[in-house]
Symmetry: D2
Subunit: 374 residues, 4 copies
Amino acid sequence: MERIVLAFSGTLETSAAIPWLVEQHRAEVVAVTLDLGLGQDLEAVRHRALACGAARAHVLDVREAFARDYVLPALRAGAMAAAGSPLAVALSRPLVARQLVEIAALESATVVAYGSRHTADRARLERLLRDLDPSLAVVAPAAAAPLAPDRIGAYARACGIPVLAPDDAAVRIDRNLWARTVECGPGAALRQEPPDDLFELTRAPDATPDSAAYVDIVFECGVPTAVNGVPMPLVELIQSLETIAGAHGVGRSERNPRGAGAGWRDRREMFDAPAARTLVAAHEDLRRFVTPPVLDRAAAHLARTYADLVEAGEWFTPTRTAIDALVAAVEERVTGTARLKLFKGDCRVVGRHSAFGPPGIAPSRPAQPAGVRA
Amino acid sequence: MERIVLAFSGTLETSAAIPWLVEQHRAEVVAVTLDLGLGQDLEAVRHRALACGAARAHVLDVREAFARDYVLPALRAGAMAAAGSPLAVALSRPLVARQLVEIAALESATVVAYGSRHTADRARLERLLRDLDPSLAVVAPAAAAPLAPDRIGAYARACGIPVLAPDDAAVRIDRNLWARTVECGPGAALRQEPPDDLFELTRAPDATPDSAAYVDIVFECGVPTAVNGVPMPLVELIQSLETIAGAHGVGRSERNPRGAGAGWRDRREMFDAPAARTLVAAHEDLRRFVTPPVLDRAAAHLARTYADLVEAGEWFTPTRTAIDALVAAVEERVTGTARLKLFKGDCRVVGRHSAFGPPGIAPSRPAQPAGVRA
Amino acid sequence: MERIVLAFSGTLETSAAIPWLVEQHRAEVVAVTLDLGLGQDLEAVRHRALACGAARAHVLDVREAFARDYVLPALRAGAMAAAGSPLAVALSRPLVARQLVEIAALESATVVAYGSRHTADRARLERLLRDLDPSLAVVAPAAAAPLAPDRIGAYARACGIPVLAPDDAAVRIDRNLWARTVECGPGAALRQEPPDDLFELTRAPDATPDSAAYVDIVFECGVPTAVNGVPMPLVELIQSLETIAGAHGVGRSERNPRGAGAGWRDRREMFDAPAARTLVAAHEDLRRFVTPPVLDRAAAHLARTYADLVEAGEWFTPTRTAIDALVAAVEERVTGTARLKLFKGDCRVVGRHSAFGPPGIAPSRPAQPAGVRA
Amino acid sequence: MERIVLAFSGTLETSAAIPWLVEQHRAEVVAVTLDLGLGQDLEAVRHRALACGAARAHVLDVREAFARDYVLPALRAGAMAAAGSPLAVALSRPLVARQLVEIAALESATVVAYGSRHTADRARLERLLRDLDPSLAVVAPAAAAPLAPDRIGAYARACGIPVLAPDDAAVRIDRNLWARTVECGPGAALRQEPPDDLFELTRAPDATPDSAAYVDIVFECGVPTAVNGVPMPLVELIQSLETIAGAHGVGRSERNPRGAGAGWRDRREMFDAPAARTLVAAHEDLRRFVTPPVLDRAAAHLARTYADLVEAGEWFTPTRTAIDALVAAVEERVTGTARLKLFKGDCRVVGRHSAFGPPGIAPSRPAQPAGVRA
């Protein structure tokens, strides 16, 4: 009997995919749910997979791998600064692909399935899966007629699946360890400044403390290792910065539709990303501080290429590997401390120090106490 | 009798240069003082030139030419965004050069003189003057031994010139219409966050109004033409934005020393530039909104080149002319409105509208009345 | 009755398209055949169109427009040098699109049709047509089932159309004024050096004259205007260089399949392009000779972008217009003469002269007679 | 007693430098002569150093280090293709600097001296020496008044040094393993095509064999390891290609003065570089064949930066190290064979093969025997 590994998030789409795959492929379905830092208990999702007919259902906490193997390389390569976005959704795709491939190998499955009904998502995931293992077949249940938006409710009910509301096509929310991303289609709500209630991780700037917080972030070879003097593993460090910066309203941004002619990207993306905002600001400043200008420009050019390949699903390619090699050489010098000032939604670097930086200026932490400390 | 046109700012260096030029060159000195938006009455400077022995002394209000012919092209080319600085001092040099050349022609002078004792400044000004008129001789009095920092006081007193304090070599302050620039050498004061009293045009963020201001800036073919619905000439528009944004603490930034090895740029630059900050933010956002991505990247690449040539004194070159031609084509579409939100030192674009932008999203101003709401 | 304008080349595909369009669309078909410099009488093609059922058949000599409006801008922009190919086929597509749109307007047709069965060709042509006139419908008969390669013969015979051999899918030959292009799929014949008989416009290098020819090409603002002292219109100049350079074996080149992973471009392109080779060499050398290095690099970067947009069918876009504006400024200085030496397939610039070049070195033509003169 | 290590080439400049250094610095002079592949016995040069008063004189064969540590990295980085020149002189400077520093350490010398009277050469060498060992003092005897061109003859005679003709300032010839470089100032001789007698390593194309030669070059990870099936160490491989290609007139090129305004580079460089020409052509073709296009473009951009840093004397910098890291990743795939056709001065790649290339096309060598077929 065939076995299919399905990336399962618990939405109506992925839930209805289980009986559909069983029926169409006469296959056993193994559901895999990844905890990328959603901030929810995923045990209920696992039970739902089983209730829908999955033979087995795995929930894996992959936050550490996500932070170390995907977020960190892109941070060091300057990709977020180049893209003007945290790239949080795009960076999760190669991890999803790798997990599907690994579990397919463990489960002796030759088919993997992915639930998104978004064509671009699917194309990127298929690219990633093909680069990892060209022999795997990829199935996209959402493209099947019975699972189309107008028919999926009926199909699910017929299969005895409790029908949640279908995904709102106009608003997609994705949250992981690195950022909360809200993507909206065009419409009346967009004609104004984004409303405060779109954001969860950051307070509205006018509701934040009236005195600034200072945060010192230590980097070693481009890896953030301590906040305000306290060494932390990467996942904890990201969560800590999320708390501190979010409290000061730091981390809201948006990327607008742009382009011209046929190529309009007609959706607006909003980011709620306190940790990404502070880490990117600190890293960019410190790297520029210690890098010869000629090399810094070369690196900036490659950062643009890196952001493109992250967004295009070209993670498992010689291009990324080669840029990573250059970045590793650059980041050897990115060792030191950057001090951020957080105030009413604004975040700026107000001091930096490195043994590789200009000697006269590098400020070490002043004696007096300063701001929030975790 | 030879005639020399001297760029005269009223400092001790330029004052002592007058008797020195008269004596060394047996020449008549014509002093030229440019009002680039210093915000002071320059009549006293004119009198000082005459008192030092100038045959004639001109004060010229060149603010409009500065804004239109130097600031605006660089803004449209994206040079400030690429440089991470308002480029305010660098943009004034080609105007100074052009004025010296024009007045030298009017005065039938074959020599021009420039007061700065900074080698890099002088090299750039000489490049600019040579590109404009290779036949003009350029004299740099500050390089002469009697005008060296340790001897200039005695020289001036001997010439009967009232001795002001010499320029503080550690801190250089330059103010013009576009920005106030403070450049410091390394030293103890730099080991902290820049103190509030370094800034004049912007309030400290924690002393600003507790509610945000919204500002709508209209662009026509990349030229800002109205603020909050009120059409204004460029100089007035810049001054208006300086007032509004400065009141909200918007416009402070710094550019740190950077590099590596022998190439350390060992001075830190701070910018007090409310108008530059808001106009650059609005223009960049609107341009990106209406420009095809491929063209936007090509333009970003050229913006970097443009910033470099501004800083290097290569304004009067085929390179600038050629980039200007491309920029003019790009900016034909930069027609529309960007809305900025100013709050506690933070400035962000929260809406944009253009007939060339994506149709569904472009927000026009909501019904409520426009204008600053501090 | 609907009217359809069909780009008609006389191949079996385009011939069979006529009865198919008449039948499917109940439309009148107007056939348009463009003379881009194929070097054949096209009257027979016109008769064939009528014989296949076209209501009207036009043959237009567009060589001058092709040279002036498409080849020349790309030459001046450095696109051929950047692409490593004459771009001859890609440059013909925007002209074809424009002619179809113009004739559709004259004929009050709302549909245009294009014969190629190559998906990439079609996508590019549709992009070009949409940018010119988004209201036109585009029909692709070759995509229809009865016109598939294995069925088209029977269909044509059933329609009473004399059946020529179908296009050889493995080898595509395209000839126009600018180059002869031979594109081959993978196969045994490719395992060696390209055989001499693939080339028509160039002699085999070992069959060429034993003494070198020198050719002087004059450019005015980047436009080639004379060869060996004889002023010529552009079309004639290209033909003249084709004769001279072809006789010396100059102009053969190939572009190999390249890439990695999924993106293999699995076809090898060979170019027989004596005029393109000599004009590109002369223009690149002269431009580099008169252009400041900083500008030359900026232009080289844009040349790469230009080549990409030519190949992608993005001719009628703001990107091309903007680059053209910069190129026009650069080319103002590309006025002068380049001397080429042609010998046994090798072509090199051995002298150049321009009023904008360095003064000491610019060689004018020596007194003694030199080489072939047209 | 102070000890100075002098780079000694045997010219009048370096010969007269010995007594001058002894006299001025009251120092012991240790002469170092490097064999970079000049193709002459350097024992006579060693004797001359001793005759001029050197305390010790070393002759070191550094050809292998030159090929492996300087030529090869630049070849793999694509620097020669980007520069349009073999970079042979520029690549020798970092090796000279490193040897001076190493011998200074062995000899406990704190001063090194370099003979060139060319300001640009000296600035680059000083940059290289400073990056390697900032504590070393660098002395430039050629800048001293008694060693000026018009006085050096008298000075040398007074020191009892046999006076050779001084260097011809108008023509500089440099030969090493990688290329012979001839640099000329402006003048009458430049108004024509370069005369044949400027070239030594290449025959005039019209005096070469009437049938083409084919050469297969094998690369392993970007390192050329075999020619026509015969494995060779790098130095021998370069010499072998010099013989084969030189016999077919392959390897002549020039780089002309260019630029505009003040920046004219008023010297013309001619290159006689058969080995460089063939290796660069083969490597570029093979790299492009196996590299994804996106990565190939990124690498091409860095190749430009690499060429610049070679020419600027920035070899011992983090920039080069970082680019080398990316190049190493790219070159892992540059494993395979390129076949060149050499005929009458023309050199082109007519076949290539790699396990990393497109599968259908890669030609392996046909059945007939390999080797040069002149």
